[in-house]
């Protein structure tokens, strides 16, 4: 048995042989993708097979974050692939970003979260709203994985309703004094910088970059998660933190700042969820052909076939949804409401497939011999974060009726 520096036992031999994943492309959607998309997809798929699959069950089981993968994700180019190269990104299009997220989440939703947060929730707002100095100072280091970032929007008493936040800043000459607390923040305990959203004295939401060693700032870890166990989550606590004015985003005020970042990340999640679903389906399909009961493979029973047939149908529909969404995003035309629909549909699809796949695996389905239960537990977070399942439904409802059912 080997142990890494985080004290995690990694049973490499045991898991390494078991990633037998094969992709499923029932409608030849590959033909709709370009050469770069296919190369990007295959590169990340290979990386996941080599770097994630052999270790992920051990890390998830022990609720430890595979810290070395922050650098690995940077090397492969998973942080902000659709941001310009001069700002630490990959210069690729939105479709490439999508297939990369799909492949990462095929490995684990927590690993995909590490990349989503860094790229879409930290690099993107700095790129979009930051000053030239902020971009030069932070983006290359974030792109190369030298810095880890986190995104603080949610508060203990303000989740679905971030506009009600109480974290605030007060003008103090060349700095603002930041007070308040954020909750459920991916990466926060290990982050070098936090993109934090807080209200100014006029009640307008402002974004700013808080560095980890600023006095009064701490980021305790949240323990006891049964979901996204390989991704580290924590709080952000600000007690009279002096944030230089140079760290505040000059180019955005109001809720549209954080919401535009969330649109980016939700877009990636709509793709990512397909990865988790494909992994569950792939495992279930293989198991159904290998496992025999009553003298025949369980895949020969109609009830198993119903499950499998419905799974691949739903995956195919979801693939077409994100392909179209990706085309719109490439033209800059994907609306937040369209992204909400895809996030909600695809994550729910993945969670239902994980549950059905779990049943096909019988008792084995609850063990870490198969990836299914881990995906299922992860997807419970994915269903809730970045806008809950129900909130996205209300967004669609509001979009089609013009009536706001939130409040």
């Amino acid at each position: 048995m080997m142990a890494d520096n985080n004290g995690v036992d990694i049973k490499i031999e045991k898991r390494a042989k078991e990633d037998r994943f094969q992709a499923h492309d029932y409608y030849n959607i590959d033909e709709l993708l370009s050469e770069d998309h296919l190369l990007a997809r295959d590169a990340v798929r290979t990386w996941v097979k080599q770097e994630v699959s052999p270790i992920i069950e051990s890390y998830a089981e022990q609720a430890k974050c595979p810290m070395h993968l922050y650098k690995g994700l940077a090397e492969i180019g998973a942080y902000g692939p659709s941001l310009p190269v001069e700002y630490g990104g990959g210069g690729m299009d939105e479709m490439a970003y999508g297939v990369i997220m799909q492949e990462l989440e095929r490995g684990d939703s927590g690993i995909r979260s590490m990349a989503s947060v860094q790229g879409s929730l930290v690099m993107y707002p700095i790129f979009k709203f930051g000053s030239e100095e902020q971009k030069k100072k932070y983006l290359p280091k974030l792109g190369s994985g030298e810095f880890i970032g986190c995104f603080g929007l949610t508060e203990p008493d303000h989740g679905s309703n971030p506009g009600g936040m109480v974290t605030n800043i007060k003008d103090d000459g060349d700095a603002y004094i930041l007070n308040g607390a954020k909750m459920w923040i991916t990466n926060s305990p290990v982050a070098d910088i936090a993109v934090v959203w807080a209200k100014d004295e006029e009640g307008k939401i402002r974004g700013m970059i808080v560095e980890k060693d600023m006095p009064g700032f701490s980021a305790p870890e949240i323990h006891g998660k049964w979901s996204l166990r390989a991704s580290i989550t924590g709080e952000l606590v600000f007690e009279d933190v002096r944030v230089p004015k140079a760290n505040v985003f000059p180019n955005v005020k109001g809720l549209k700042g954080p919401l535009s970042c969330l649109s980016k990340a939700r877009y990636g999640i709509a793709w990512g969820a397909i990865g988790a679903a494909m992994d569950c389906y792939d495992s279930a399909l293989r198991y159904s052909l290998e496992r025999e009961q009553f003298g025949k493979p369980i895949g020969q029973f109609q009830l198993t076939q119903k499950k499998l047939a419905e799974m691949i149908t739903e995956i195919t529909k979801a693939q077409l949804l994100v392909w179209r969404l990706g085309s719109l995003a490439n033209q800059g035309k994907a609306t937040p409401a369209q992204i909400s629909m895809a996030k909600r549909n695809n994550v729910n699809m993945a969670l239902e497939i994980a549950r059905e796949a779990r049943q096909i695996h019988g008792g084995m389905g609850i063990t870490n011999e198969y990836p299914v239960m881990r995906h299922m537990m992860n997807l419970e977070t994915v269903l809730t974060y970045e806008g809950t399942h129900d909130i996205h439904l209300l967004i669609t409802g509001m979009d089609v009726t013009g009536l706001n059912a939130f409040k």
Partner: protein, 246 residues
């Protein structure tokens, strides 16, 4: 150093092999293709390492139709500087070798890299044939390569041991496991590959001397027979009469 890496396209390793009705060809429908792993993981990467150490350039060459461009692009994404596709159906080892030799003869490559075999037809022939056409030494199954000036030391695995050869450039070799470690292209490499030159040249006329006339699939694997540990005689009988191994 001017280095050439010959890459081929092979079916993905999990492909289920099927033949056409009269058994004269492999059925290509629905098959996913990859770069031949020996070319990608070992030949190409060792060439890139050499270039990184001593300078020069790495060219990738493939004999094939436009459908091979994705695989060639991958070689560029991993780090080759430029690529050439010789536009022809690669129907036999000799034909492929002739095409590569014709392209390479005026280019003065110092080392020409091949994989030890292509994982589809397992010929292990093209490298030796190209070397013969170009009248240069050829070393097969290389798993170690060190170069100093114009002299290279190449180790190759032989039954029960290792053989070390010394050779002067220019020469050709075929790469076996151990020569280098796989490199996964990153997103930046993939984007840079779009701007690297991929030249398409026409093939020269060449008559094949031999032709594959039939393919057969191996007999299906038979089921496992379990024998009672007390029944050693039966085990010996089966090994002798059925498996014919003793």
């Amino acid at each position: 150093m001017k280095l050439l890496v010959c890459i081929s396209k092979t079916p993905e390793t999990t492909t289920k092999i099927a033949l056409n009705e009269d058994g004269t060809a492999f059925k290509t429908e629905g098959v996913q293709y990859i770069m031949n792993p020996y070319d990608e993981w070992y030949a190409l990467v060792r060439a890139l390492e050499l270039k990184e150490a001593v300078g020069g350039s790495v060219t990738a060459v493939n004999v094939g139709s436009a459908g091979n461009d994705t695989i060639i692009r991958k070689a560029l994404a991993i780090g080759a500087d430029d690529a050439v596709r010789i536009n022809a159906e690669p129907h036999s080892s000799l034909y492929i070798a002739k095409q590569i030799a014709e392209f390479a003869k005026s280019e003065n490559f110092d080392i020409i890299f091949f994989g030890k075999e292509a994982i589809d037809y397992n010929g292990s022939e093209v490298g030796a044939m190209v070397a013969e056409f170009l009248d240069m030494p050829f070393i097969s199954y290389a798993n170690k390569l060190e170069v100093e000036g114009n002299t290279a030391k190449v180790a190759r695995e032989i039954e029960g041991g290792v053989e070390v050869a010394e050779v002067q450039t220019p020469f050709a070799l075929s790469a076996a496991k151990g020569l280098a470690e796989q490199r996964i292209p990153n997103m930046r490499g993939i984007m840079m590959a779009k701007r690297k030159p991929l030249k398409v040249v026409e093939a020269v006329d060449f008559e094949d001397q031999a032709k594959a006339v039939a393919y057969e699939l191996p007999p299906p694997k038979s089921a496992v027979k379990l024998i009672d540990p007390d029944n050693m005689e039966e085990l010996v009988r089966l090994l002798h009469e059925e498996a014919k191994v003793i």
